[in-house]
């Protein structure tokens, strides 16, 4: 029959998954991104499987329900290291805790959905408009006057602030971009007001989930640890940042290479890592990452940069690096690298420079089995501060894709006091 051969053909395609990341859910994302039989999509409408990875706090569960209802039939939900919603916590709910079993479980759910062995998930929220408007008001458009008042629940477009640019004031488009938006840090929810394509206001409604530091950095605060291990974790962190940015730049092949390099950081010998990284850097330049994609974005200077610390500060010319105060590092010939410009391309060049610096340090440290000398000045890969207030100040005036590139270039989330689970 028509349905069955269509389904059999459809099953052979990649499993489409929308990742709704909760707290510490990124490793599910990285594991699935490496699997060629799984396609991670940007919008729930393009997906058949909703993967909730990591715990979702109670105040965000309403948003999760709305995301869940956006998946078109046939759809299913998988819970990875996460507690299912009350309405979905039935005996058949698929809860996975083992990272190695995740890709297999996703593909199995996909097969069962497409071949109709499994029913599509039920809707959680009522399918009625939140503000009924049809037939109401002066002209049947729900509201007063000719403008139609407040239909669809959307506010009228009276500009609350004069347009940031000179000239005619364009209409304001206000929307809330939620905690499960896959193209910025997980958990960040903001109310954005656009006029034209320029961000006029950016108000953080819910901050990004705190990012955990690897276990080794926590240990380094109480006893000396091997510098090589610290630096390997630092390289891994920067490569994960490249993975996100290269996805935004429409270079999925390079993003996957960055991810593969990041996964090999712990185990591969440093000469092989160095060669692979140099090839990666050449490919970045040749494919136009700097020349075509990266905008100037938000420029940090002075006090803002110093407060953020980490890569963002050093890219703005601030020479703060806690490793400089550490004798173990100084014996290896460490000196901080900086860029001058403080804008988005500078931050990415700074990451590239720091990865190269770390690879050199790893090489030297492994020869001599060097360890850290101080326990009070540890340079975390994320820097010191969280960037939410900075986003509220710096993003207005940027065009939308410049704003997202800025968010991708900063370590927005604050540093969690607890280590990676």
């Amino acid at each position: 029959m028509a349905v069955s051969w269509l389904s059999r053909l459809a099953v052979r395609g990649p499993a489409t998954v929308f990742p709704a990341l909760g707290m510490h859910g990124e490793d599910a994302l990285y594991r699935l991104a490496r699997d060629p039989g799984i396609a991670l999509v940007d919008t729930p409408r393009h997906a058949a499987i909703l993967l909730v990875a990591g715990g979702v706090p109670p105040h965000l569960q309403d948003a999760l329900r709305r995301v869940h209802d956006q998946l078109p039939a046939p759809c299913a939900t998988l819970w990875y290291q996460s507690e299912p919603l009350l309405e979905l916590n039935q005996p058949g709910a698929v809860i996975i805790d083992d990272p190695a079993a995740l890709p297999g479980a996703v593909k199995k759910t996909w097969r069962r959905l497409i071949t109709r062995e499994q029913d599509t998930a039920p809707r959680l929220l009522p399918d009625t408009p939140p503000n009924p408007w049809q037939g109401l008001g002066d002209d049947g458009h729900g509201g007063e006057g000719m403008m139609g008042g407040v239909p669809y629940g959307r506010p009228m477009a009276m500009p609350p602030t004069p347009d940031l640019r000179d000239g005619l004031a364009l209409d304001v488009l206000t929307f809330r971009l939620g905690p499960f938006f896959p193209l910025w840090p997980a958990g960040l929810a903001a109310e954005v007001a656009l006029q034209g394509d320029i961000v006029q206001q950016f108000a953080v409604v819910s901050p990004a989930f705190p990012q955990a530091v690897p276990q080794i950095f926590v240990e380094a605060q109480s006893r000396p640890v091997a510098i090589a291990e610290l630096e390997r974790k630092r390289v891994q962190h920067h490569l994960y940042a490249f993975f996100h940015a290269l996805g935004l730049a429409h270079l999925p092949g390079l993003a996957r290479r960055a991810l593969a390099l990041a996964e090999q950081c712990d185990s591969r010998p440093v000469q092989a890592l160095d060669k692979a990284f140099t090839a990666f850097e050449r490919a970045l330049v040749r494919r136009g990452f700097f020349a075509l994609y990266l905008p100037r974005g938000a420029t940090l200077e002075g006090e803002d940069a110093r407060a953020l610390g980490g890569v963002a500060a050093r890219a703005a010319g601030v020479e703060d690096d806690a490793r400089h105060a550490d004798d173990g590092y100084r014996r290896l010939g460490f000196s901080p690298v900086t860029q001058q410009a403080g804008d988005v391309p500078a931050r990415w060049r700074q990451r590239l420079a720091e990865i190269q610096q770390s690879l050199r340090l790893i090489g030297r440290a492994e020869q001599g089995d060097a360890v850290t000398a101080a326990t009070d000045s540890i340079e975390l890969p994320q820097g010191t501060g969280s960037a939410h207030e900075l986003l509220e100040n710096q993003l207005p005036g940027l065009e939308w894709s410049e704003a997202l590139a800025t968010v991708a270039s900063l370590d927005v989330a604050e540093v969690s006091p607890w280590p990676h689970p």
Binding site: H141, M146, M147, P151, M156, A157, P162, D171, L173, T174
Partner: protein
Amino acid sequence: MNTSIGVDVAFWLLAVFAVYTGWRVFRTDSMVRASFFLLLSFIAVGAIMLLLSAVYLGVAMFFMMGVEMMVMALFMVMFMMNPAGLNPMMMVHQHKLSIGAGVAGFAILAAMALLAGFPQQALPADLEPVASLGHELMGDSMLIFESAGVVLLATMIGVVVLSSPRGRFGSAQHGSMPPGLEPGGDPAGMPEKSEEAGGHHHHHHGH
């Protein structure tokens, strides 16, 4: 005039479509939809021009109206105090006056179409519309078209320059203002601030 039955059928269908979509421009509830209904009406008219052997003009009609209505729809989205044209709104006002004007206009134009004496001569069999159009443009009407063309080009370049964010006194992001006549004084050449300040009181009637 001997025209085949196919051409007649096509003409009537296109004419009815043009009138219907023209009527829908006023009965729809969104500015963007109104622009696109107008585009459909113009496309039908362009197709009728193709039937009349005005090959270049008909196709140029598609081209021009496509871009014009697109720009108009974009302006609706940008400026209409109606977030992105997504709210439904009442499109018409002054009903009695506009209905009267519409009926009067229709009567006059219909009288012209039905009662005027159109030329009866058939087109020559070896007519090359594009070549004859070209000869006219480069011959008798060269002055008009060349000056119009240069004016259009100057307008386009002027618009692009005006919309550049790099103003004469600084970037538009920071509201470029001319320097004062004395150091630290008010910006020169600006009109006196009127009493009703803060005033974007847009009481638009939706148009």
